[in-house]
């Protein structure tokens, strides 16, 4: 097999059984790899109605056919697939770094974790040799200490994926962390790992995936690397400033939510911008495996030096909590990684708690002396720790903003879709992004379809962000292409520079398949419909394809987008129609037959 290693590792933590199974190449032709293939396999073997913390829920950790393939730009990604304890949807959480590539070097496309260990364990994978080991000494440890200990007791050159106290304590917003500061952050996948008493997976491999046509790959890689280098975003913007360069542009457009989306501009945006980060705190740029872009940052404040913060994180701990102290944001990001929580959901949950406090629903006597006032820099650091450790009110916050709001009779202050916290763009004045939020198969999310690209950044062309007309078609194409890219093992950021033909050419050179732009998009469409079917089976429906009440019913109150309202009601029926779904958002028999979904 080319690109793929052809082997799936299946580990049952209840019985201790370890099996090596052949990858189903026919299924891989339909669903590619990574997100698509692992989700389809998950959907085939797990009860769609299962409770996420049930022992029979499973965790699929999957690389793509291009992960770990030498010279492929950004082939360092992997996906964590499970049923989400946050959203109740199928979850597929993506991460970079080096772990995904190393899994391929060890000879596997995917690891499937089943059952539940009686006591804390970790898994060691060294090529053929797979061992379940005791993790009593690691349980309760922060993620960086766990990583260091595991490298020391295994192999300094191994790659470590682990959970922190957040995942151990079943926080519904817990991340799976890898390579110290990379995160499969979203949808609470770390909590499912914690529910299985699995602390970490250490992997070390010594062989490389084979390539079908080396000459062709050389030619294609040369072409796309040139595109990546010459593209303003991937060649200049991201390498120089990282993702946080977006702070000013999103704020200048008046769609930078502040104080839990009560405002849509933040007066101190400059103080937390990518430009300020580069001036004051940046230590070095960091790239994931095989990445020519290197958007990753390493920043230093006092005695803390760590990866990040990313744009979404700066927004969350910054503007969304009313905090203009960038040093505090960097510290909160550090602690969020240490306790192993998703930075978007963690910061947005603090913001929701701040609004519940502002409205008198959370009382002072619940705070143990730690303020929840908007703008309190110390609060974002300390509440992040308390959330990860489930201390005091942090115990309730660890359930995520929606369930926190419910506990106070006010879930409407959770700025979430399908109970997953929204990222850093106000959808009321970016209509396509609003539709993408509402229809995302994993709940509130920007990277299932990044309409910010055409609606704000003018890539590949400029769309009027206030206009609803035409957006359903754009959202579908972005969702489909993203699903396909996510299934290759490459990074979504390459799509600023690469088109569908480029991805098809790389896949074909590596795997020997014969994709073109149309069949690649059809693969994405198939993946999207399969995810949707899983969610419908899980009990989600049209009523869940929506936005928080505030963002549906109220206009923007400040800044250049003042007065703008969501036009979701107008777009949603058209979107269902464009997708070939019925009026309730259910894929029709004809659509499923067209896609060959069984």
């Amino acid at each position: 097999m080319y690109g793929y290693r052809g082997t799936v590792l299946r580990i049952n933590l209840s019985t201790g059984d370890i099996k090596k199974e052949a990858l189903d190449k026919e299924l891989a032709k339909q669903y590619l790899g990574g997100r698509g293939l692992a989700e389809k396999m998950f959907a085939n073997e797990v009860d769609h109605k299962i409770e996420p913390f049930d022992v029979d829920n499973k965790l699929f950790i999957a690389a793509g056919p291009l992960s770990g393939v030498q010279t492929v730009p950004t082939g360092g990604r992997y996906m964590v697939i499970t049923k989400s304890p946050l959203t109740g949807t199928i979850a597929s959480s993506n991460s970079g770094g080096r772990w995904g590539a190393e899994l391929k070097f060890a000879g596997y496309d995917m690891v499937i974790i089943e059952g539940k260990s009686e006591k804390p364990v970790y898994i060691s994978i060294v090529d053929e040799e797979v061992t379940i080991k005791d993790a009593a000494h690691l349980w309760g440890k922060m993620t960086s200490e766990t990583t260091e200990m595991l490298l020391k007791e295994n192999n300094e050159k191994a790659k470590v994926l682990n959970i922190g106290p957040g995942g151990e304590k079943l926080s519904r917003i817990a991340a799976v962390m890898n390579d110290l500061d990379r995160a499969a952050g979203r949808s609470g996948v770390g909590a499912v790992m914690g529910s299985k008493n699995l602390k970490a997976i250490v992997v070390k491999g010594s062989s490389k995936p084979e390539v079908a046509d080396k000459d062709k790959l050389k030619e294609v890689v040369k072409r796309v690397n040139e595109k990546i280098r010459e593209n303003g975003v991937t060649g200049q913007g991201l390498p120089t400033y990282g993702t946080a360069v977006l702070v000013n542009i999103i704020n200048e457009n008046g769609v930078f939510p502040a104080n839990n989306f009560q405002q849509s501009t933040f007066a101190q945006a400059e103080e937390i911008s990518g430009e300020t980060l580069a001036d004051k705190y940046l230590v070095k740029r960091v790239g994931c495996y095989g990445c020519p872009i290197a958007c990753g940052r390493h920043c230093k404040v006092d005695d803390i030096e760590s990866g990040g913060p990313e744009y979404e994180t700066v927004w969350g701990f910054g503007a969304d909590c009313g905090v203009s102290d960038l040093a505090a944001v960097i510290k909160a990001n550090y602690w969020c990684n240490e306790v192993g929580l998703d930075t978007i959901s963690a910061s947005a949950t603090i913001a929701a708690a701040m609004e519940l406090y502002q409205r008198g629903l959370i009382k002072d006597d619940e705070l143990d002396g730690l303020s929840l006032e908007f703008g309190n820099a110390e609060a974002v650091i300390e509440w992040t720790k308390r959330m990860g450790l489930r201390e005091g009110l942090g115990d309730k916050m660890a359930e995520g903003s929606y369930r926190l709001g419910e506990m106070y009779g006010a879930p409407e202050y959770s700025m979430s879709v399908k109970k997953q916290e929204l990222p850093a763009y106000d959808p009321r004045a970016i209509q396509g992004q609003g539709l993408a939020y509402a229809t995302s198969n994993r709940g509130g999310c920007h990277v299932r379809a990044y309409l910010i690209s055409p609606e704000i950044l003018a890539l590949p062309e400029k769309l009027d962000r206030f206009e609803a007309n035409g957006k359903p078609e754009w959202v579908k194409i972005f969702q489909d292409l993203t699903a396909a890219i996510d299934s290759t093992g490459m990074c979504l950021f390459t799509s600023f520079a690469m088109n569908a033909d480029d991805y098809a050419d790389i896949i074909n050179a590596v795997t020997g398949d014969d994709y073109d732009a149309a069949s690649l998009l059809a693969t994405g469409d198939r993946i999207w419909n399969m995810e949707k079917l899983f969610n419908i089976d899980s009990g989600l429906g049209k009523a869940d394809d929506t936005l928080p009440k505030r963002l549906l019913e109220e206009g923007i109150v400040d800044g250049p987008s003042k007065g703008s309202m969501s036009q979701l009601d107008e777009m949603l029926p058209k979107y269902y129609d464009v997708r070939g779904w019925d009026a309730e958002g259910v894929p029709t028999e004809a659509k499923l037959a067209e896609l060959g979904i069984k």
């Binding site: 303003g232 200048e252 003018a458």
Partner: protein, 77 residues
């Protein structure tokens, strides 16, 4: 000929040797093209142009109270 002054905000790499915020003088109803020429910003460096936070064009005539924001190619997410 009457003159006017426009506040211009610059971002990312466009700040190098120019600063964050500059006031640009020009004729009444001058355009953003006048501004980028004055600031010696090559047209291909202008990825996003906002006038008062809304999408602007290089040849739109400006009013004295307008604020212009200029970004080079940037992205993230």
């Amino acid at each position: 000929m009457r003159k006017m002054t426009i506040k211009v905000r610059l971002f990312a790499t466009l700040r190098t040797d120019r600063g964050k915020e500059v006031m640009v003088d020009g004729p009444e109803a001058m355009t953003c093209r006048h501004i980028i020429n004055t600031l010696e910003i090559p047209e291909e460096e202008v990825a996003i142009l906002l006038i008062n936070g809304r999408d602007g064009q290089l040849d739109t005539p400006l009013s004295p109270e307008d604020i212009v924001s200029i970004f080079p190619p940037v992205g993230g997410g």
